[in-house]
Symmetry: C2
Subunit: 282 residues, 2 copies
């Protein structure tokens, strides 16, 4: 059976076709623009293939409540042209096949759970630290969903004593995303994180926020493994710094595996999103 | 079928027998002392009844990993005589019947979910704010469990700008429990919360911490309803204050029900723990 996947990110869309075991036959990507233009490119790609099911991991927030009239609609996004856009309805009117939708980060988590760093674990939490911060949680093969989907990037964290930044989350100012997503680094220091590799303080502050978030996720979800990905995590030393801070903050309270086994890098490079989107079809 | 329940709290033990619909036939309670003394009283009660199953909601942390050699053992507790005590093994050696164990707060959450404020909801989070802070989460009739049980009272929160208290959690200092459990109020002001009813600042600070915790739980778990109980919540005005703070902090980011419907009082008075312990037998 040929299945399709869409990794619908805020910056780019990735479309792929492949089989049910995660083998990709063809894949393209293009920038995310207005919904009409973006979906025109999407349609042009899938029209060339006879897919029998389609999975989409979309940027959000997305209404994932199946009982809601706006199920499958993009909700409160800063991308104004996408706000309230009925993405699932639009795709369903284009293709008369089963379509499975979830958030981008939930799909990425499923990808890592099935084929990557989470594959030998009962559950895993996947966090992406990039333009925003999001997390997905898969347990026993099932994406965790509450009343609606989770929004783990918007938890409140305590501010680092040497960080005077006011935060740049438009809703919460200094929530985790407002303090530790990529744009907060640029807003604070006037340049991108990738140009600040030698500035220890930048990464010490970053590790402080992320370790704190991981403590909260661990206390609330008790995951078997935590996978940290996204553009900001390309600063590889962050892993060591976060593990050290995490161990220090946890202070032996929980019996968990060694931090180097518990907090890990993704194994699928940048493929977890599209593989996870395809895996939504199962 | 006659079933038994034990609400094994850090301060008192409650034992009850009843039926599978939550009707209690007889109930006693006594102070929690050393394990031997406490379980002697427990045994004396159940020896008078022919129960066919027993549920226990225990203070913790407890090892709830069924694959672990120490399954059913009390772990790192400040109650030194109970530390590493194999509670489930002990009960199983006393009674040749199925015994179901979970944490006290998970059992209480199940009680409210089945018979109380959570009964018409797909999921509910139950938080108790008393000697410590703990929370349980039930979704689709099932107590949420991760790798081990959750420890939601020990999340990190940001400190209220007017609160200079250093926190009294022996592991984390100023985690939520260290800043907002009953003993932190007494440590800060030199008297119990019940004697500080007229001091607005005390409750403003308390509401700040609890609202922040509820934001984090909501972002991470997306529950359908949040039930707040425990001794500290006997200050009824806290509900209004927490709802106001919560709404303000959330700042319209999520579409959730009105705070007065979302954040509520328990409906079972102090019966959720024992009813939930009995309900573990199902």
């Amino acid at each position: 059976m040929l299945i399709g996947g869409i990794e619908g990110g805020g910056t780019k869309f990735v479309c792929a076709v492949g089989d049910e075991s995660g083998n990709v036959l063809e894949k393209i990507s293009f920038p995310t623009r207005d919904p009409e233009e973006t979906l025109k490119d999407t349609k042009a790609f899938f029209d060339r293939h006879s897919i029998e099911a389609l999975g989409i991991g979309s940027f959000g927030p997305v209404d994932l409540d199946k009982d809601s009239a706006s199920y499958g609609t993009i909700l409160n996004t800063p991308k104004t042209r996408w706000k309230n856009y009925p993405l699932l309805d639009k795709l369903e009117s284009d293709y008369q096949i089963p379509i499975f939708m979830d958030t981008d980060v939930n799909a990425a988590c499923l990808g890592e759970y099935m084929y990557g760093a989470g594959k030998d674990y009962e559950s895993c939490l996947y966090i992406t630290v990039g333009t925003g911060i999001g997390a997905g949680f898969v347990q026993s093969g099932k994406i965790y969903q509450g009343r609606n989907h989770t929004e783990m990037g918007h938890i409140f964290v305590r501010q680092h004593p040497e960080d005077l930044f006011l935060g740049n989350c438009p809703y919460h100012g200094t929530c985790l995303e407002g303090l530790a997503a990529g744009p907060s680094i640029e807003a604070r220091y006037g340049k991108k994180g990738s140009l600040l590799s030698n500035n220890d303080k930048v990464w010490e502050i970053q590790a402080y926020y992320l370790a704190q978030a991981l403590i909260n996720y661990t206390m609330i979800l008790s995951p078997d493994r935590i996978i940290l990905g996204g553009g900001v995590m390309k600063q590889k030393r962050l892993y060591r710094m976060i593990r050290e801070r995490f161990t220090e903050m946890l202070n032996g309270y929980l019996q968990i595996p060694d931090a180097s086994e518990f907090i890990v890098t993704p194994e699928l490079e940048d493929e977890q999103g599209i593989l996870g989107a395809m895996a939504l079809c199962k």
